[in-house]
Each structure stands twice: as structure tokens, then as C-alpha cells.
């Protein structure tokens, strides 16, 4: 190289330092930053001096040697300090010197053209954020198209020289007028220009781009640029399952990774360029508006990415288990050379990633609200929120008077109810207000009034998982349930789980909510089961806490989870039946998948054993859905169609077993009945003795004991004792919009028909019923019905008249026919929404002494009365009845005897004809 060129290069470097690109970007944590900045500047200068001092006659070979030697020094510096940000700045400085030197060498030959071209750093390199094996984005900015064409050969040689040094260069060449055009087909290029930085060549040319063209371009296309960014981010987040909590995250592209940090920086830059029409006075990557937490998060993740690059020797950003262990052993990003368990180190990673993810999504949502859903729902929201303490602002949920959520924890919970109901997100300010309110909760203690009613509303709402995630992110969930803190960002290191334990728990809930919109055949089957659940909130509560034990010092995580929920129940005020259901689900949540994978699900003995453990169809439904949601939340591919079908097969076989063996499986007080007697006797009045209780339980189907809580059985027993003085004992209570009627009386002809007919005559709609009898001939019938005309709700005095009416019919003092005459239209609507054809099936093998009859038909008011009247008129005795409704389809199972024996084929045929004629 000529001496003059050498002198110019020296000037170039000095100018470059003076104009600031070589100076490290502004950092928020100023005290700590000054020392680091000094150290980095020195290191960058050393690299520059090394290049200056070399012979310039054959730049290729010597630059290569310098690059290798300086790169090794950068790695040594990283090994000694663990400072990832410094690595990226040092490498950017090193590449700057080499690129400038090569530019001089290759473009000096074209001396007249050199004045019309500038070398510009773009993207991460432009930001001075060059990770050890990252691509080097360069722009050859030409004054015009002719220059661009003329310099093609020099450009190629320049790039070849860098490639020879094993640098991965991504070059682009543009004439200045080209850069003024918005490239809708290449959004990445438009965005990469936001980080452009002058390296060498015609500085005036660069200034024109930087100070005039780019600010004008951004001002003109602000909305499109933001939309491009939003779209690229949405696609990337969707690819990574929209969650930060991957067990082996990609440090660059996962949600909460470095790309999200850059997205936040770009959004700030777009706003600045639009407002000021020029680049801010403090060039560099960091925008002063980003919060210190995000800067710390960047430092942590940048250090991790440097480690991954150095260890893998390539641009690989997957933070594998192995590398997590290495980082934790080093104490990287925490305290160097102070090792910590990998799970703890990953918790720190997730907390940092969550900060970045929240920042990026909030800025994106503020910049580009989701238009379609927003526009569609504005009217609906306006109406809904007109008298609410909450409001909608830019598509986000805000609190009108922030002080209210701090003062009143119920108001805070109501906010999350709205989120769960409407799928709205909180505004950035509201999130901060919620965090303050959560901090106040800690001092108020966990005794929140109406905690369970509020939590129930959240759990059953369509967007429950999103609301729970937000409650967790803002610290509300662990304030309400300190037990949940055990699994906060907890990593389980195996090759199956993709998510942390807390994220997995939220995904289980989301998987069931997503069933609403699922379309495959087997997904629809599980969706049907979900729609049939009586208390879905209990299933969701169990899902929320099922793996809490994984973060507790118990050998068996189920034991830990049960211990945790036992602490939670008293705060929620759940009744004993609800408590038992949730405990059952958590205790047995692995049972169904164990049967699925380790037992022959076509073997009747497997089904029998499993059915005995489950006990009731309601529990089976909840366990089946639990298993579905739990497997599917392990990783996106875990629930294969093969597994889903096997799960469905096990469910169907077990459900059939439960319904077809009710009559066989009965309580014998001297065998399994003893245990039940001991559980129930403390709950009954003091003058009752064990003998009486044994007598009551003798011969009842075991299904009866499993379907009712000990408290309910105790109540039925008390009612049976009163039958000595009254012919019929009734208990009626409302459970939300459902009423439950329990009838105890001595068995008699037309009993079931009489009760179901009276209920229908009052205009009620039966959707579920059971009829059981004990060995002494006491029947225990339970009916669940709705009150479509709200007769009982609006006229509480009618409750007594309703009960009297049933007693009168059963005692024969009022005829059912006279009651029925008052009711018209018991055949229901003429046109069914979903036509259901009638199927009648008999089975003589399920029971040793009765015949099973299963009817599936179109549901309508008075249906049960119609069926049971036919059975009674034919002279059948009803041993057991199980009545169920699935949408507009009634599925009724009866165990019948005729003159104390099974029904023969002849009777079955006649009965089928009579029923078909009636239905």
C-alpha cells in the first residue's frame, strides 16, 4: 500500500473514534459500566494498533493472522470476564479495522470511483454487536447505478478476502436512490438500515443516507415498518410456541431472546426518526427509553450466546442442556467462577427472557394493535365496560382508578376475570399497577374474601391460561398461592419436556380451552367430554397445581402436590366433595397414561382394574381430559394421533364397564362396607348405630358410594331413618342453575315414572338421574334438572308446593294424569336442532340377574316419564337407572327384571316395539 493511503487510514480510525462509533454504547448501570467501557475501549484500540503496525503490502495473509490472533484474545477475555457485551463490541471493532483496511486496498485501485462509494455496516454489525460467529452484514453504498456496476469486481474481491479469513459476510450493494425506496418485498433490508453505520469511503454519501434519506423513508413508511416488524415477530413467536419457557431455548429467536430485544430497539428508533427526522445525538444500539432490567437481561443472554458460539464453533444459538450445565458451572452472567445448579441458572435465564419478551410484545402491541379483532369488538366492549371499573385503551385493559386494585384485592381478581373472559391483555401501565397491588397483597396476607368464586370465574373462562400467565408474571399468583413459587421457571431436565413446570401447567389448561375450536375427529370427541363435565373448574384447579410438587423436597412429586393443595383448600373454602375430587385427580393424574402405555387396554382385566380405581363416570371424564391435556403439554408432538386414539379407546372401554357393571358391583356390609361405615358413622347423629348404617348400605351399588360424598351418604341415611314416620323423604337444593332432588322411599310400582312425570309436569327438564335400591327395598333416587321457566327461582314458596306435589303423587293422593293434563307440549319442539335417531340395545351378560337396556334418543321434556311409564306398564322392575344427557341426545341405561328374572328375547323384542312406537 502507498504511504499516502496509510496516512489516510490513520486519520480514518481517529475520525471514527472521535465520531463515536468506536465508543461503547451508553449503558444504564453507569457506575459498573465505566470500568467495563474503559477496558473494552483499550481492547479495541489494541486490535487497531495491531493492524496499523503490520506490513501493508500483502494485506490478505497478515490480516488473516491478525484476525485469528485478535479473535483468540477476545475469547480469552471472555473466559476471564464472562462479559458477552464486551465480546460483541471487541469483535465489531476488530472487523471494523480489517474491513477498513481491505476497503483501502481494494478500492484504492479505483481511485476516481472511491469517492463515490461508501462501506456501511448493517444489522448487528452496524449496532457493534457482533457475536463470535455471527454474519457480517455489509452495504456497498454507491452514488449511482453506474458506480455500483463498475465496482462489482472490487466488491467481489473484497468479500472474497473476508471469506478467506473465514468470516461469514452477507454483502449487499445499492445505489443511493435505491435506498430511498421502501422495499415491501424485503422488510428485513429496510429494518437492517435502521442500524447502518459508516465504515469507510465517501462519508458525504453515507451522511446523505443517514441524515436525510433514512429519516424521510422511516417517516413516510412508519406504519408499514411497524407492521413488518410485528408480522416477522408474530411468525417467529408462533414458530416457538409463543412461550419463553423452552427447556432448550434458542438464545436469538425464541420469545424473550435477543431478536425480541432488537425489535424493542427498532421500535424506539422508528419513533425517534419519525419525530425528530434525524438520528439521535447518542448513536449506538441502546435506546435510553429501554428499561435497566432489559439492559441487564441483554447482558445475561449476550454472555450465554457468546458461550454457545465459542463452545460450538459456529453460529448456533441453541442453549442445550449440556451448555446450560457449563454456564451454570461457570456462574456465567451471575458471578463468575461461582458455580450454581443448572436449574437455578435457568430460572435466571427465564426471568431475563420474560423481561425482554414482555417489553417487546408491549411495544409491538402499542405500535401495531391487532386491528381486525379490535375493530370487531370495540362496540361490544364499549357496552360491556360502560359501568365497569375497567376500560379499554388502545385495545388494552386499563383500570379507571388504579388505587382500587391495591385497596381491594377482589377488584384485582375481577380484573383478571375480565382478561380471562374477553381475552384482553393489560396495558403496560396497568401491569405496573398490578405489580404494586400484588406487593400490597403480601402484607394483607392470603385471606382474600371470595377467593374461590373469583378463581372459579377465571378458571372456567375461555382465556383462563392467558389470565393465569399474567397473574403469574405480575406476581399475583404466588402472592395468593405461595405454593406455586416452587415451580416458578422450574426446569425439568429430560428429553421429553419442552417447557418449564409453570409454563407446562398453564399449557395444560390452554389445551382444554383450545378444544373449543378443534376440528379433528378425535379432538371433537374430547371436546364432547369437556362439555359434559359437571364441575370443570375442579379439573382446571387440579391442573394448575398438579405438578407443584416437582419444586418441593418430596421423593414423589404427587405427594408434594397433594401436600400443597391441602394448604390451598382451606383458603379457597372448597367443600369436602370438591376437595376430594381435586385430590383424586392430582393423586391419580399419571394412572391413565400408565395404563395406556404399560397395560393391554383391550384386556378386560385391565379395564376392570382401572374402572375400579376410577369408580364413577364423572371422575373418568375428568381423568381422561386431564391425561389428554397433560400429555399434550409435554411438547407439541407428544400427543400423537396414535396416543390420542388409544386414550379414547381406554376411556370408552372404562365408561362402558362402569355403566354395565353397576348392578353387579354391590356393597356388602360385612366386606368392603366396613370401611365405608367407619368413614360415614362420625358424620351421622349420635343416636344412630353402626348396625343401622350397615343395613342401609347393604346391597346398594358401589357406584352409589363412589358418586356421593360421605356427607351426602350420611344425609341419605338420616332420611332413611325418618321413613319410619313418613312415607317419602325429599331433599331439594339448587346448585347454580341446576336443581338436585333426592327421594328416599320404599320401593313400589311406577315409582320412577311417578317422580319423573311430576318433575316434567312442573315444566322442569331432567338432564341426569340415578335410581338405586338397597337390599331392604329402600330406593335412593337422585334427579338433576333445570328450571327453564325459573318457577322455583322466582317463587321460593313453590319449592315446598313442588315437594308436596311429588309426595302426593307417590302416595297416590293426587293422580299424575291430572297434573300432566295441565302441561302441553311434552313432546318438545317439533324440529330438533340436531336430529337423533332412537337406538335401543339389550344386554343379558352384564348382570347375573338383570337385563341391561340402553336407549339413546332425541331428548325432549317428559322423555324420561314416557320411557319409564312404558317399562312400568309392561311390569318391569327397575333395579338401577342411570340417566344422562349429551346436548340434545338422551342416553339412558336401565337394569330391568321381570318377575324377578332377566327379560327373555321375546320380552325384549316386545318392549323395543312398544318404546319405538312411543318415542
Amino acid at each position: 500500500m502507498k504511504p499516502s493511503a496509510f496516512a489516510t487510514k490513520n486519520a480514518e480510525i481517529k475520525r471514527s473514534n472521535k465520531k463515536s462509533p468506536a465508543a461503547p454504547p451508553q449503558r444504564i448501570a453507569a457506575g459498573q459500566a465505566n470500568a467495563a467501557r474503559h477496558q473494552r475501549t483499550q481492547s479495541a484500540q489494541r486490535a487497531a494498533e495491531a493492524i496499523i503496525s503490520m506490513s501493508l503490502s500483502s494485506p490478505g495473509q497478515q490480516l488473516r493472522e491478525t484476525y485469528t490472533a485478535e479473535s483468540a484474545k477476545i475469547q480469552q477475555h471472555f473466559d476471564a470476564t464472562g462479559d458477552g457485551r464486551a465480546v460483541t463490541e471487541q469483535r465489531a471493532a476488530l472487523v471494523d479495522r480489517i474491513a477498513i483496511e481491505l476497503f483501502r486496498h481494494h478500492f484504492a485501485q479505483e481511485s476516481n470511483q472511491a469517492a463515490k462509494i461508501a462501506l456501511v455496516a448493517l444489522g448487528g454489525y452496524g449496532r457493534r454487536e457482533l457475536f463470535p460467529y455471527s454474519d457480517i452484514d455489509l452495504l456497498f453504498l454507491a452514488a449511482d447505478t453506474a458506480t455500483e456496476v463498475n465496482l462489482k469486481s472490487a466488491t467481489r474481491d473484497f468479500c472474497q478476502a473476508l471469506w478467506d479469513m473465514r468470516m461469514r459476510v452477507s454483502p449487499s450493494a445499492r445505489a443511493l436512490p435505491e435506498c430511498a425506496k421502501f422495499k415491501s418485498e424485503n422488510p428485513e433490508f429496510n429494518i437492517s438500515l435502521l442500524d447502518c453505520r459508516y465504515l469507510a469511503g465517501d462519508e458525504n454519501l453515507f451522511n446523505e443516507l443517514h441524515q436525510q434519506i433514512l429519516p424521510a423513508l422511516v417517516s413516510r413508511n412508519r406504519a408499514s415498518l411497524r407492521e413488518n416488524l410485528a408480522e416477522l415477530t408474530r411468525q417467529r413467536h408462533a414458530k416457538y410456541g409463543e412461550t419463553v419457557f423452552h427447556l432448550e431455548p434458542n438464545l436469538k429467536n425464541s420469545p424473550g431472546g435477543l431478536r425480541d430485544f432488537h425489535t424493542a430497539c427498532w421500535l424506539e428508533r422508528i419513533s425517534e426518526l419519525t419525530g425528530e427526522k434525524q438520528f439521535p445525538a447518542h448513536p449506538g444500539r441502546t435506546s435510553p427509553k429501554l428499561n435497566p432490567e432489559a439492559e441487564q437481561a441483554f447482558d445475561f443472554i449476550a454472555a450465554a450466546r457468546c458461550l454457545v458460539h465459542f463452545r460450538q464453533g459456529r453460529d448456533d444459538n441453541a442453549l442445550t442442556y449440556e451448555l446450560q450445565s457449563v454456564a451454570a458451572e461457570l456462574g456465567l452472567g451471575v458471578q463468575l467462577d461461582k458455580s450454581m445448579p443448572p436449574a437455578d441458572w435457568m430460572r435466571r435465564y427465564f426471568r431475563h427472557a420474560r423481561v425482554i419478551f414482555t417489553l417487546a410484545t408491549q411495544l409491538l402491541d402499542a405500535a401495531v394493535p391487532e386491528k381486525s379483532s379490535l375493530a370487531d369488538r370495540v362496540g361490544e366492549w364499549k357496552a360491556r365496560f360502560s359501568n365497569s371499573p375497567f376500560a379499554i385503551s388502545s385495545g388494552r385493559l386499563v383500570v379507571r382508578e388504579p388505587a382500587t386494585i391495591t385497596k381491594d384485592p377482589e377488584q384485582l381478581l375481577s380484573l383478571f376475570e375480565v382478561m380471562a373472559r374477553d381475552g384482553l391483555k393489560l396495558s403496560r401501565e396497568t401491569e405496573q399497577e398490578v405489580e404494586s397491588a400484588a406487593a400490597a397483597l403480601a402484607t394483607a396476607g392470603p385471606q382474600i374474601p371470595n377467593l374461590w368464586p373469583h378463581l372459579q370465574q377465571i378458571l372456567i373462562a375461555p382465556y383462563a391460561a392467558d389470565a393465569l400467565r399474567s397473574m403469574h408474571a405480575q406476581g399475583v399468583l404466588v402472592r395468593l398461592f405461595p405454593e406455586f413459587a416452587a415451580i416458578d421457571s422450574l426446569v425439568i431436565r429430560d428429553f421429553y419436556h419442552h417447557y418449564t413446570v409453570d409454563a407446562h401447567s398453564f399449557i395444560t389448561i390452554e389445551n382444554l380451552k383450545d378444544l373449543r375450536s378443534k376440528t379433528t375427529e378425535w379432538e371433537r370427541k374430547f371436546a364432547d367430554i369437556l362439555s359434559e363435565l359437571e364441575q370443570p373448574q375442579l379439573l382446571f384447579l387440579a391442573l394448575l397445581f398438579h405438578d407443584v410438587g416437582k419444586g418441593m423436597p418430596h421423593d414423589d412429586h404427587i405427594e408434594g402436590s397433594l401436600h400443597a393443595v391441602d394448604e390451598v383448600f382451606p383458603r379457597l373454602g372448597l367443600n369436602p366433595t370438591e376437595t376430594e375430587s381435586v385430590r383424586y385427580l392430582i393423586a391419580n393424574h399419571l394412572e391413565m397414561s400408565a395404563n395406556l402405555l404399560r397395560r393391554d387396554i383391550f384386556d378386560p382385566q385391565t379395564i376392570r382394574n382401572f374402572a375400579e380405581k376410577v369408580g364413577t363416570p364423572e371422575r373418568l371424564k375428568m381423568l381422561c381430559l386431564f391425561t389428554y391435556a397433560d400429555i399434550r403439554a409435554v411438547n407439541p408432538e407428544a400427543l400423537t394421533p396414535w396416543k390420542a386414539e388409544s386414550l379414547w379407546q381406554l376411556y370408552v372401554s372404562t365408561e362402558n364397564y362402569l355403566n354395565r357393571n353397576v348392578d353387579e358391583e354391590r356393597v356388602h356390609a360385612n366386606q368392603d362396607g366396613r370401611e365405608w361405615v367407619e368413614r360415614i358413622i362420625p358424620l351421622v347423629s349420635t343416636d344412630a348405630n353402626r348396625h343401622e348404617l350397615r343395613e342401609f348400605l347393604e346391597g346398594l351399588p358401589r357406584r352409589y358410594l363412589l358418586a356421593h360424598s360421605p356427607q351426602e351418604v350420611a344425609r341419605h341415611f338420616e332420611m332413611s331413618r325418618r321413613l319410619e314416620s313418613s312415607a317419602v323423604e325429599l331433599h331439594l337444593e339448587s346448585q347454580g342453575h341446576i336443581y338436585e332432588l333426592t327421594v328416599l322411599t320404599a320401593d313400589r310400582p311406577q315409582l320412577f315414572a311417578g317422580i319423573s312425570g311430576t318433575i316434567a309436569a312442573w315444566g322442569m327438564n331432567i338432564w341426569k338421574a340415578e335410581a338405586f335400591a338397597n337390599a331392604s327395598g329402600i330406593i335412593v333416587d337422585t334427579f338433576h334438572f333445570t328450571d327453564p321457566f325459573r318457577t322455583l327461582e322466582l317463587n321460593p314458596s313453590e319449592m315446598d308446593r313442588f315437594k308436596t306435589s311429588i309426595t302426593d303423587v307417590l302416595c297416590g293422593t293426587v293422580s299424575l294424569e291430572s297434573l300432566m293434563r295441565g302441561r302441553k307440549n311434552l313432546r318438545g319442539p317439533a324440529i330438533a336442532k340436531v336430529p337423533v335417531s332412537t337406538q335401543i340395545r339389550f344386554d343379558d351378560f352384564c348382570s347375573s340377574h338383570s337385563t341391561l337396556m340402553e336407549i339413546a334418543t332425541q331428548d325432549h321434556p317428559g322423555l324420561l316419564y314416557q320411557i319409564t311409564s312404558v317399562l312400568a306398564q309392561y311390569g318391569c322392575n327397575l333395579e338401577v337407572a342411570l340417566i344422562d344427557t349429551e346436548g340434545q341426545r338422551a342416553i339412558d341405561v336401565f337394569y330391568l327384571t321381570l318377575d324377578g328374572a332377566k327379560l327373555g328375547a321375546n320380552h325384549q323384542r316386545k318392549l323395543r316395539d312398544l318404546l319405538l312406537a312411543q318415542l
Partner: protein
């Protein structure tokens, strides 16, 4: 070299896998499959609806190994997969011409 394809009951898979690891079989490919042999399907009813269960779930294991290991491997699978009931599955053997490890292009038994 021989390819062993064993179609077995899903419930026996864990036992078969453990037995194979015990005799030193290092690699296998596992598929979730559905099918039927002589054990035809059956009709189930659920809530008044009838449906055919004609294809039953099975696990298929594929192992390619040196010929000298074939007998021991087959015996191991037979022992671990057998329940004595219809539907226990089948084992198929076929010759393999060549195996190549992609990483270093080793060939033959070395590549297994």
C-alpha cells in the same frame, strides 16, 4: 446385515426395550402403528353409537444389526413380547445390502 422388524403389543414395549438394551442392542427405531393380522377388530358401542375398532394400536421396532447378533436378538424379543394371547404380533427378518454412517461415511457393520 439383517433388518429386524418386530410388531408388538404396546404394553410389552418397555419390557422389550429393556431386554434389548440388556443384551447390548444400542440403536432402534420405534414407530407407533395401527393394523391387524389374524386378530381382527371388533365393534364397540359408546353411548348408543356403534363404531368399528378394526385397526388396533401396535408398536413397530426396527433394528439393523450384524448377522451374528440376529438369533440372540430375535430370542430376546420373543421372550419379552410374548403374552400367549392373540395379538402378540410378529417378527420379520430381511437382508440389508449396505449401511453408511452419514457423519464419517463408514460402511458395513462399522456403521451400525
Amino acid at each position: 446385515m439383517t433388518k429386524i422388524e418386530a410388531v408388538i403389543q404396546p404394553s410389552r414395549f418397555e419390557s422389550v426395550k429393556e431386554a434389548l438394551i440388556e443384551i447390548g442392542i444400542q440403536g432402534m427405531t420405534v414407530f407407533e402403528v395401527r393394523g391387524h393380522g389374524r386378530q381382527k377388530g371388533h365393534t364397540e358401542t359408546y353411548r348408543g353409537r356403534e363404531y368399528e375398532v378394526d385397526l388396533l394400536p401396535k408398536i413397530k421396532i426396527e433394528i439393523i444389526l450384524a448377522d451374528k447378533l440376529v438369533d440372540l436378538t430375535v430370542q430376546t424379543i420373543l421372550k419379552a413380547a410374548k403374552t400367549g394371547k392373540i395379538g402378540d404380533g410378529k417378527i420379520f427378518l430381511s437382508k440389508v445390502d449396505e449401511a453408511i454412517r452419514i457423519r464419517n461415511e463408514e460402511r458395513g457393520d462399522q456403521a451400525l
